[in-house]
Structure formats: C-alpha cells, structure tokens
Symmetry: C3
Subunit: 352 residues, 3 copies
C-alpha cells in the first residue's frame, strides 16, 4: 500500500511544496519518521523538529514557510491535525481490508456461503452451513465451526477459533487466538467426589461494532446465548463465562474475568484484572478499578468501585490510606492504653 | 442432527400428543424455545408458558391435558425433568462425537497410529510415533507433537497445541487454544545480569476424565512430569507451571495460576484469579476464594482460604469488615486520645 | 535422538564401566529413570539409589566402585554434576533444533526469504516480504504476517501468531499460542456513548535472546514500536499493551499485565498476576511481588513492592500483619473507650 505525496495531497485537498513524486507507505511521529513516512506539524512550538526530520512528507498549515532547508516534502492544509487523523483512519481502513481472495489450501464445508470481497487465508477453515457477509476477512489458520453466521465487514484474524452456532455481527474485529463459543464451565458434584458434565447447548451472540482483543475467551451459554452487545470493546486475555451479557458500549480491559450468568450494563468501564462474581447485575455506567473483585449486584448507575471485595472507590482510597498507617495506629493505641493504665490508683479503683 | 418428535418419544418411552413428525434439532427453555426446539414442563406453576410457547415439542407429565389450544406437540412421560436431562445428555454426547473421518489436507507423521471412529479435521497435525485411541476427535488446526499418546473418546478442539511426549487419558475434553507441554519457566541468573535457560525435558500427563477449558496453559516438567489427575476440571486461561500436580477431582476456575512444583490435593476448589506460590502443598478438600493468593503450605483438609496473602476465610471476612471501618476507627482513636488529653491537670501530673 | 552410552562417554571425556552399547534417549532423576534414561550420582549420600535404579546409565565420579551389582552402566568423570548439566544443555539444544526441512502443505508468500537449516511445519504460514534467518524453526500452524523479520536460530512453536511488520531477533524462543503485534486497545469515547477506534499503526520489536511463554499477548504500538529488549524472559498468559517497553534481562511471571506506554526497566522481576498501570516508569532492578498493582512511577533502583496499590514490601508485610489483627484492635479500642467512660463522674465533668 503505497501512495505518492501528490496523491495524498489531493485526498486531503492540500497543496504540495517540494517533491510530489515521493512514495509514502506509513505514518509516523515527526521526530522518528523515516523517508517513506508521512507526519504532521500542528503546534508551531515543534517547528524545530521539522528541520531535522527524515520524514518523506509532513502535513503543515496553509501559509507555513520553512525558515531553513528541509528534507520532507510539505502538504499544506487548513488543519494539519485533522488532516493527519483523517489520513490515519483511512490508511488503517485500507490496510485492514487490503487482503482479498482465497489462498490455498483452505477449507470450506457444504452449504456454506460467503459474500463478495472475502479474504480466506491459507489453512483457514470454514465449516458446514456457515453464512459469511460481504468484505469479511478470515485470516490464515482461523477456524469457523458449523452453522456460524458472520455479518459484513468483519475481520477475523489469524488463529481465531469460533465454535459452531456462534453469531457474529457486522463491523466486528476479532484478534488472533481468541476463542468464541467454547463450553461453559459447568460440572455437577456427585456423591463419590467426581463431577458430571452439565451439557452446554447454547451459543454466543456478538452484535455489531464489537472489537475483541487477542487470546480472549467467550464461553457459550448452557442454554440460550452469551451476548456481547453492540459497540462493546474487549481487550486481550479476558474471560467471559457462559450466559454472561455485556451491555452496549461497555469497555473491558485486559485479563478481566466475568463469571457465569453475570449481566454487565451499558457504557461500563471494567479495568484490567477485575473479577466479577457469577449471577450479578452491574448497573449502566459503572466503573470498576483495576484488580477489583465485584461480589454483589450494583444497582445504582454511574458509581465507581475498588477493592477485593470492592466497595465505593472514594471510601476505598480513604480506607487504604488508613490501612497504610495501621502499624502507627497500633502504636498509638498502645501508647494510649499505657497512658490510661498509668492513671492514679484512686481512679482505677473506681473503674469496676 | 435432527430427530422427529416420535423418535424422541420412543427414546424416552413416552407418548406423543399432537404432531409426531415435527423435526427437532435443539433443546431450549419453554419461554424462548423455537419451532425446532424441544423443552419441558415439570412444575405446574409454569403451565401458562405452554400456552404461548413456540417450541416444536414439550415434554410433560403423564395425564397432563392442555386447557387451551397449544402450538407444541407434547411427549408425556413419568418424570419430565428427568427425561429432559437425559435427552440433554444424550444430545450433548451425540453432538460431541458426531464428527468422523479425515478432512483434507491434514497431516500425520511416520509410525503414528489412530483408532477407529477418529475425526481428523482439516489442517490438523499429528506428529511422528503418536498413539491415538478409538473415537478420538481432533478438530481443525489442532497440533499434536511427536510421541504423544491420547486415550479413547477424547476430544481435542480446534487449535489446541499439544507438545511432544504429552500423555492424555481417555474421556478428556480439551478446548480451543489450550497449550499443553510448553517449556517450564526456568532461567538461572548469571553474574552479568543475563539468564541462562534451564532445559525443560519432562512432559505433561493428563489422566482420564479431565476437562480443560480454552486458552489454558500447562507447562511440561523440568524433569519428570507435570500431572493432572483423574477427573480434574480446569476452566479457561489458567496457568499450570512446570512440575505441578493437581489432585483427583479438583476444580480450578478461570484465570487462576499455580506456580512451579506446587502440589494441589484432591477435591479442592480453586476459584477464579487465584494465585498459588511455587513448591507449596495444598491439602485435600481445600477451598480458595476468588483472587486469593496462597503463600504457604496448607496441611489441614477441608479448610477455606481468602485474601492475598490468604488466611482463614471466616477470619478474613471479619477482618475485611473491620478494614472497611478503618477511617472511623482512626477517628474514634483520635477522639479517645483527645478525651484522655483533657483529663484534669492533677491526673496528668500523675501520669509520669 | 538416541546415543549409545559409549558415545555419551566420549562426549564427556569419561570412562565406561559396564555395557557401552545401550541406547540412551532421555535424562532423568536416578530414582525414577528408566532403561533408556541417563542420570547422575554426585552426592555419595544418594549412593543407595544406584543399587535400585533402573537407569540405562549413570554418570559417577572417577574412582567410584559400586558395592553391589547394579543395573546401570556407569560413565566415570571428574565432576558428575557438571557433566550431567552439560549433557542436559546439549541434549536440549539438539532436541530443540532437531526439526529441519519443509513439511507440506505449508505456505510462503511472494518475495519472502528463509535461511538455511529452516524448519517449516505443515500448515505454517509465512506471508509476503518476510525475512527469516538461518536455522529458524517455524512449527506447524504458526502464522507469520507480511513484512516480518526473524533473526537466526529463533524457534516459533506451533500456533504462534505474528502480525505484519513485527521484528524478532536471534536466539529467541516463542511458545505456542502467543500473539505478537495485535492491535493496541485504543478507543476514543464519542458524545453518543460509542467508541471510535484509534488506528494502531506501529509494530512490535523483540530483540535477541528473548524467551516468551505460551498464550502471551504483545500488542503493537499505536505509532512507533512496542519493544522487548535483549534477554527478557516472559512467562505464559502475559499481557503487554501497546507502546510498552520492557528493559534488558527483565523477567515477568505468568498472568502479569503491563498497561499501555509503561516503561519497565532492566533486570526487574515482575511476579505472577501483577498489574502495572499505563504510562508509568519502573526503575531498573525493581522487584514486584505476586498479585501486586503498581499505580505510580518507581524512580529508585532496586526496591521491592507489594500490595494493590503497592508500596514498600517490608512496610506492606508489617501493615498486613497489623491488618490480620484488626478485629482484636477494634476490641482493644472498645475496651479502652469503656475504661475511659467509666472514669469517676468528677473527671467526666471536667472533660468539656
């Protein structure tokens, strides 16, 4: 994916100063960019970087005139930061949907349908009766089980495993190594100390615009569906247990775990390494601090929680500050006890 | 996998009321079941659900007569709940062992043997001198290294990686993305600040009836074997380090970690995100609460632990309740200090 | 990989006592070794093990004479422990680099180059414009994206996923299921409650002599590079977020997580399940205890941290000891309050 400086300038409606034929294939910071990178100069106080920059091109503000000789070609626009961000997004889109066609060998089962614009990487596996929308990208070594449905413009990176009956929406991104639809962890204790498997017959439903990081796991429901609502963002190495529901636009950071049948509301923020006990409800707009453990249902919207087990964030901070002074507190109590003990004998006699 | 209502009725020894030719391919809850699902009505107080249910069939008690017109066909049996559970288990078995034969391309090395009834998915890899029992299912993109042994009726889901020399028993289930037999984390510090690799030459032994979730890791032993005993149930994203032994029928929840050479007893329950320090012994029937950290050997059977580092669960709850009141405690101590300070001058003179 | 006892003896410059033709293919402990294993006897107090050992061969000290009939052949050397360690390392090297050649089917894209001595397992995928050094081992089902560079003597185990533009050094080992270069977790909140993806255009750089465990994830940088410096050792199931830098010879244990843009110094020890907040700096030689949470920059070298949020390790231990006695402390305070309350009425009148 390579563009000339002139091509980029015309995409941005900008004007080229310098060599327009240079080839650009990446974006970078002005201080570290190389000859095939484009960067931007928005804040005049960083102008000095321009004079030493090795960038192939730099986006600058209309009217800007370099005070010395410079290496980069310039593209002059009304708002360099906005133009650069636009470029960043377009470039990212292009890169993300660049792959097309079918590499061999790859596998597709009976009665499966794929839309136009698909990429099926080598060693990718699509089972039977799978329905895949337009412009979907299935990277190498990915596995899509039987009866799965995937919407348009979704990207499944290398080595993702999607169990049968999973439903994935449109405009989703699922990173490598993530597993969707594995059996929920359900075992019934028997009298002899062994466990009997509780059959897991449900599935996972992932709605539109969901992003999922790498090596995350979402288990299928025992019956019914584990559901990840529209716009949810899941980071890496997260555990989502059977029958969980994660509400619209909720963000979950890496290594957090949500136990079976918990319902997390909309627009929540769950920080890294958080644990949520099974069967709880978490109200909308709840924020949970890193490494916290949620052990009871949260009914009030917009609260912040910390600790394991967690309670109100502000109280936790105060409590933890007191905790750090505990050894002093013990000393102060001992000193006071001593003081009271040393009260005159006449008083002590009165005590009992 | 599809059965007619009549076929299911004869499996259950039940009697059909209504259309016996309907095709059923899944099980569901009476309130959400669709036309190809079967459900059950056990408790009469849920009878109303029946009259709006869209289920293809419902299992009900002998003698039951619907008071209104209903959509589902009925299968009348002695004990609807037991019949449904039976159906659930049989259906789950059927589904789990449904795949058979060899999809192409797949790889099998020299001198490897597989039993009858095997499924080898496309892009599955079986190394050299591997021994695989009857009715084993190796899903697509799974990797089985050289000299591995796998017992009968074991299921290896898509993208599982099993390193060479691993021994896996019968009736095991290993979910996608799990890695078994990777090198233990052993590095000897050198004088210059670098680390030297300690060669990891052992293997992993997984006994019969073990279930392992998705994206879990079990490292091989430095020498000898990391051992997962009969009937152990491991959830997703668990870390089992080198030379660990997990005792019979122990259950470990998601994201827990067991460090090198620790020995966990039989019938223990290790909750989510627990950490266990290396080289410890954990007595049989120990329960460890979520997010706890075990830092010393537990010798007494049947105890419950909480906290990081963990101590007795009951004491922890009491201590944590006191912890939550720490800011009040500080205030109370200050008030008392003040009170003692304000004792009449005559007393204070006596103090020292 | 099989050697005769005589071959091993000549490698070690030792002398054979007994049958030199026996075939040895593994190393083990003297008490559990079998007929094709070699073991060692260094400390005379373990001599008794020799008389019951089933090992094929045992390395012992020059001049040693067995007092009874023994099963193992002996190899007599100056320093049995050193010889055994040497053998262990050489054997491990041999085993690790044993695989060679290209198994079919495997995939390699356009303009990609691989050095001599390569192993490309079946179903391994190498993208376009990839540069791979000498003696590199790419195990089955591994995925190497476009424009990746890998140095000499690096081992990529089965099912590793390396995203495009990643740079991996020489003498690295990356275990199964690990993902390198997945998108950083960057989403900008919008006014309507949804999130917009922040394009992640950087890469991951892994320097020489880095070992990475199984199912670990290293995200690419937003711009620039996420960097893992020379000699770093990462365990399993670790999260390394975008733009993180891990300094030379730092060791990170399983299930730890390092958030975006944090810089961890050289020769640090990060224990299991630790969390490090984003954008922090951690000084060289810092040690962080298991399950701790680092919430602020650490500037002083060589300190030890514990707790969540963490503070000085020694203070934490003292504080935690006081924490465990909190219920007693509450009782003591109550008792003291009672005592003060029961002071004679005359005193109480004076209090205010």
């Amino acid at each position: 994916m390579e563009f000339s400086v002139s091509q980029i300038a015309s995409m941005l409606g900008g004007e080229v100063v310098g060599d327009g034929t240079r080839k650009i294939n990446n974006l970078g910071k002005i201080e570290t960019a190389g000859p095939s990178d484009i960067s931007f100069l928005s804040n005049p106080k960083y102008e000095n970087y321009l004079y030493t920059s090795q960038a192939g091109a730099v986006i600058a503000k209309k009217g800007f005139v370099a005070q010395k000789e410079i290496h980069p070609s310039l593209i002059l626009v009304d708002d360099p930061y906005t133009s650069f961000t636009l470029l960043l997004e377009q470039y990212h889109q292009l890169i993300s949907f660049q792959k097309q066609g079918v590499e061999q060998p790859s596998f597709i089962g009976d009665k499966s349908e794929v839309g136009e614009g698909i990429y099926r990487g080598a060693f990718s596996y699509i089972g039977h009766q799978v329905k895949i929308g337009k412009n979907v990208k299935i990277y190498p070594n990915a596995y899509i089980g039987d009866n799965v449905t995937i919407g348009d413009n979704t990207i499944i990176y290398a080595g993702v495993k999607v169990y049968s009956k999973t439903v994935i929406g449109s405009h989703c991104v699922i990173h490598s190594g993530t597993v969707i639809g594995s059996d929920g962890f359900g075992f019934a204790p028997q009298a002899d100390g062994t466990y009997k498997t509780i059959p897991q017959l449900g599935n996972v439903i992932i709605e539109d615009n969901v992003d999922i990081g790498a090596n995350t796991v979402i288990d299928c429901a025992t019956m019914g569906s584990t559901i990840i609502r529209k716009g949810v963002k899941l980071d890496n190495l997260i555990q989502i247990a059977h029958n969980v529901e994660v509400g619209k636009n909720t963000v979950v950071a890496a290594q957090a775990g949500i136990s079976g049948s918990a319902k997390v509301g909309e627009n929540c923020v769950v920080a890294g390494q958080v644990g949520i006990v099974g069967h709880l409800q978490i109200a909308n707009k709840t924020t949970i601090a890193a490494q916290s453990g949620i052990s009871k249902t949260i009914t009030e919207e917009g609260t912040v929680w910390m600790g394991s087990p967690a309670f109100d964030h502000g109280s936790y901070l105060k409590t933890y500050a007191a905790f750090k002074k505990l050894p002093d507190l013990v000393k102060q109590l001992r000193a006071l006890e001593e003081k009271v003990l040393n009260l005159p004998a006449s008083l002590k006699n009165n005590e009992y």
